[in-house]
């Protein structure tokens, strides 16, 4: 196993942790130092993560910026990190959201030092989750996110924080126990097949691509074990009840981290582990998962409409929105998967912004109940205008980010239903589409209750509009709302190769699945899986194509199909 040494990714992963450790050394009375230092660290991390974007090429589905360092060699555990088109945007989302959260946490007065330290530790864990390519490393980061979040809720949370934090912890922890069992099982399977056990995702997927990793019932059980862990995180109906409590009781920064990024760990888990490692099981489970997603969309929306509490409403709206994402994932086609990756980012921005803005008003009014609000539009016009924009992006108004994501997820789901992919019935995406009506219902009610009507409460009448720096945070998020909404190509172009490979890894028969380990294949600009002759060792995106192995179904070409048939039957064309 070669040792590449540490590089850019490790820098981005551990910079916040280092900053956090340094912060611990600063005496707790220097509150301002803590605040500005933490902010500086997150901004630096964000800037560093932009370098990942610069170094990243959208021309290949292979992992880039891979760092591999032997760690516990006797158990086959490596420190292995890398990014592909799916994780790239989630890493960038994390570093960006961290800046917003930490900046807004300037309002935390009590134990500011510890709060900032936890924010930074959490950031490291979250980036690590999206970069880890070794299952044990992934599991460590995955669990490491729990502790800072648990403490954030338990220490800085609202009235019911003890209950919410324990519930949050137990739900996630119970889910991940199953995953740990499955990871260990996978180790023994690799030991059996390769002679030497490994936790390396890339090696495992190579086995899966050949159809050797696990088959039949074993694969189904392994899929289920992973799926439970991720379904709790997403959260899937009926495993969602921790979410409203945790979101509601968490401090603002915690809610933002939870909604914007921690829920995406579930989606990411499905995309990174469940689909490529257990393709047959994924296809088998697709109707069930999509059914649950549809239930989640409607159920979350109906529940959201009935909440008297501002944060609970947004929490339930996440259940609904992530239903769309899961719909896209299990549509198992290009549109759906692209939509799910993009919508993960979109949801992070829109819902993160909603929690941020509710946090702003909570700091002032110390209430989250709608009955304490009304007439805010007259009193705080700038805040209302910004909130309206963010709300509309959550309603998925076309030209804003939410639309692109939900549109692609739904169109992918519909395509799957129409073509009968994986036995998905057509009514599921049709019913899911009605989620756009429900979204309008609960979000507009929310807006009406809080912002419209006369200013008839003395507490509201005293409120000043939000400050310039707070407006700045909101505008920063609004920028992405329109950027993704009007020019999504900027984002999708870097995802396509990886998403395409992921789809082929899932739906193709064993010998036609592209493997991450196999550098002699790649996905070209039309979506065909192709054989590669030469590849630049530094920039993996530079390569030369020989012939098409699996043609894209959107560019069918007769010769290529024949080539594949020949390849499958073992002949050389």
């Amino acid at each position: 196993m070669d040792n590449t040494g540490f590089g850019l990714l490790s820098l981005v992963i551990f910079m916040p942790l280092m900053g956090g450790l340094f912060l611990m050394l600063v005496p707790k009375d220097f509150v301002k130092v803590h605040r500005y230092l933490a902010l500086a660290v997150t901004i630096l991390t964000f800037v560093a993560s932009l370098q990942i974007y610069r170094a990243f090429s959208g021309n290949t589905y292979h992992f880039q910026l891979v760092e591999s360092i032997p760690w516990i060699t006797s158990l086959g555990i490596t420190y292995k990190v890398g990014v592909d088109g799916i994780s790239l945007w989630l890493v960038l989302l994390t570093t960006f959201i961290a800046v917003i959260s930490v900046w807004f946490s300037f309002y935390v007065g009590e134990r500011a030092k510890e709060f900032m330290v936890f924010c930074l530790i959490l950031e490291t864990a979250l980036i690590g989750v999206f970069c880890a390519l070794d299952l044990i490393l992934f599991f460590i980061f995955f669990e490491a996110t729990l502790f800072p979040m648990y403490l954030m809720i338990a220490i800085w949370g609202g009235k019911n924080r003890a209950y919410a934090s324990v519930k949050f912890f137990l739900f996630t922890f119970l889910g991940s126990i199953f995953m740990l069992v499955a990871i260990v099982a996978l180790y023994f399977i690799t030991q059996e097949k390769l002679g030497e056990g490994t936790f390396d995702l890339i090696a495992m997927q190579e086995l899966a691509a050949a159809g050797d990793l696990a088959a039949g019932t074993v694969q189904l059980w392994l899929f289920a074990a992973f799926a439970v862990a991720f379904a709790v995180k997403v959260p899937f109906f009926p495993l969602h009840t921790w979410l409203p409590d945790a979101h509601t009781e968490a401090p603002t920064a915690g809610s933002i981290f939870l909604a914007a990024i921690m829920l995406k760990m579930g989606i990411y888990g499905f995309l990174r582990f469940c689909l490529p490692l257990f393709p047959e099981a994924s296809i088998q489970a697709a109707p069930l998962m999509m059914g649950l997603a549809v239930v989640g969309i409607i159920y979350g929306a109906v529940m959201a409409a009935m909440q008297p509490d501002w944060k609970r409403l947004i929490a339930y709206s996440s259940v609904s929105h992530l239903g769309f994402v899961m719909l896209g994932v299990f549509a198992l086609n290009h549109n759906g998967l692209m939509g799910s990756v993009l919508q993960s980012v979109n949801h992070g921005i829109s819902t993160g912004a909603l929690f941020l803005m509710v946090g702003m008003i909570y700091e002032r009014r110390h209430s989250r109940l709608f009955k304490d609000f009304g007439g805010l539009k007259r009193q705080m016009p700038m805040f209302s205008g910004l909130f309206l924009l963010i709300m509309l992006s959550s309603v998925a108004l076309p030209s804003m980010n939410g639309f692109i994501g939900e549109f692609l997820c739904l169109i992918g789901g519909f395509e799957a239903g129409f073509n009968g992919t994986a036995g998905i019935p057509i009514w599921m995406p049709v019913v899911a589409g009605s989620g756009i009506v429900f979204a309008a219902v609960y979000l507009l009610w929310m807006f009406q209750k809080a912002f419209y009507g006369p200013v008839d409460k003395a507490e509201i009448r005293r409120l000043r509009d939000i400050k310039v720096w707070e407006q700045g945070l909101c505008w920063g998020l609004v920028l992405f709302v329109f950027w993704i909404g009007l020019y999504p190509t900027f984002y999708t172009s870097k995802m396509e190769a990886s998403v395409n490979a992921l789809r082929h890894q899932t739906i193709q028969p064993p010998d036609a699945r592209p493997a991450w380990a196999d550098m002699s294949v790649d996905v070209n600009g039309r979506g065909d899986v192709v054989e590669v002759t030469g590849r630049d060792p530094v920039d993996l995106g530079v390569w030369t194509q020989v012939r098409v192995l699996v043609p894209s179904e959107h560019h069918k070409q007769r010769e290529d199909t024949e080539a594949v048939v020949a390849r499958r039957s073992g002949e050389q064309p």
């Binding site: 700091e363 129409f418 049709v430 756009i436 419209y452 560019h555």
Partner: protein
Amino acid sequence: MAIPVDSQHWANLIWAVLLLPLAGFLFQAAFGKKITDLLGESAGRAVLGFMAVLPIAAGFLLSVIIARNLGGLEPEARLFITTWFNWIDLQSLQVPFELRVDTLSMTMCLIVTGVGALIHLYATGYMAEDRDYPRFFTYMNLFILFMLLLVLGNNLPLMFIGWEGVGLCSYLLIGFWYQKIENAKAANKAFIVNRIGDWGFMIGMFLLFAVFAASQGVIGEGELRYLSFDVMFAHAQEVIPQFGPVVITAIPLLLFVGAMGKSAQFPLYLWLPDAMAGPTPVSALIHAATMVTAGVYMVTRCHIFFELAPVAMLVVACVGAFTAIFAASVAFGQTDIKRVLAYSTVSQLGYMFLACGVGAFSTGMFHVTTHAFFKALLFLGSGSVIMAMSHDQDMRKYGKLSKYLPVTYFTMLVGWLAIAGIPPLAGFFSKDEILSKVFSSGSHWAGQWGGFNPAVLYVVGLVTAVMTAAYMTRMFYLTFHGPEERWRNLPVPAHHHAHAVAVTGEAHGPDEHGFFLADEEVARRAAEEEETHHELGPGHQPREPGFTIRFPLLALAACSLLGGMILAGLNPLAEMFGAETPHFFEVWNEPSAGAALLPAETMFRTEHSTEWILVGVSVLAAVIGIAYMRFRYAKGLPEDERRLRGWRRAAGMQWYFDAAMYRLFVEWGGRFSNGVKRWFDEGVIDGLLVHGSAWTVGAFGKVFRKTETGYVRTYAMTMLLGSVLILGYFIWVVSR
């Protein structure tokens, strides 16, 4: 086929038409407040008003230039597609940001910018006193932008941006005076009901995508613009029938659900009457002239999908006809002048769909155009009346206003006669043409529609024409005529303050972050809110508003008076005398709105004598309606209408349909959802499953905790007991 456009081509001017309102919107949004602060209220508003009208008026002039250039070409060449960039660009789907310049889109473009500019001008007068003047024009310019995108977009997703965007602006403008919570609720209703339609639109779009994406071989390799109109229309006839009758019918029906929402067709019309809560210029522009006709435009744009499915055509025609007569009946029970016009809009939209349903798409568009003239006129006229009457909209308090508001009176006279269908005004030409085409196409559709007799549609249309003339006469006479000025009989209003707000210096914590206003600032703002409210009373003197109000009225009156004659090229009259004068509007729209598959040449053909009779019948219908109602209302407000009773009351309440829907979806739906929340989410899932399992674990823990006594002797005893039991078991097993 589409002609590729290079960067020098005049068709690119369309981008300027689109981007001008965007510039206007950004200007108003960014500088609106600053300019009024800088220049003072009155000068600032003058500048802002000018800057609001300018982009729309300039857009109109550019549209005229484009339309003239387009008209100079051969009919087949009247189509340009100009692309900016790829909006959605995936390996599985491409949606470019592309505009379509053809006769249909330019027709709508001219209406939107032309009528839009007039209404913007009107609004500078109507809203002059409003506190949120810049905000109003911000929304209005944004609306024009989205409306233009809706009509110009060359693919369904781009159209959908405009489609939902105009819905957003409608929402914002209905709720413009948001401090009254009823307005906010009306706005929500509009958006949500529209979203139900949008759901249909979206699913229809998905179905089209799925169908075309599965037909790669037909539409050509590498063509990923599955949802672009030029790709879809060119191959629709080839591709869609392959998928069987369900898909053929489902595509147009789903799209029509979208049209029903936006164009207020039964049962999704529910939002439009409530939408009258918005300022009157909004009602004129959005809820009469432009946005609500978007559904008709969409059906016309996608007419090839409808033509493929006769069943869908039947549904469109029936929904249109039913909506027309239903809304007309409701109008008789209205006392609010704007609500009469709202229901008449719903009814007229029904006519347009009736025309589309029998295959006369171009005629439907013709009615869209004339309706934009006379309905905008009627709304603006009603706005002028409302301004003159202290914003009281109850017609029962009007009467004899012709004496005070001469310009409004004469312009509304034109609008009234136009909508009633009196020749030679605009409404006559389009409505008569719809009725005659419904009648003449009967023989074609009788074969296609199974047992359904198309003559029913004609009768419904004709009855609606009588009713339209009747309720409009009622409105006109109650407002402008009658022996007495009825507001003189009202009690003297007591002056009261609109928003009495307690300003208390209640105790609040230390304000370390500077979140709160100083007490003086709170008091100053409270004083600002306390505006005195003028109410209509016996001493009120109505005064006609100024130039900015009168000019749009006169301009639209001229359009309503002459527009029909000009656009129709006086054809129906000329043709009856045997002349083959081409129908200007129909010829113009033929390349884009003419039937693609239906035998339009033959299916609408009638004998000249029949044509004469049809014209006679529809004029007679209008005259009957007017004459009867003139007789009834010339004497003023009838005794039995001082308070609405009996059928009129039931009609006014939309025959209880609105209440039933409210009961079903809002009350019972809310109760059901709340029940699910309390019993299922909090009870079953969280209570039974989550807490239940937690409790079970806890209970086990409690039981086993008892054993952890900490006494060594207890453990020793237990061990002994256990060893004995295990040993005993083995002995028992072995000895068996």
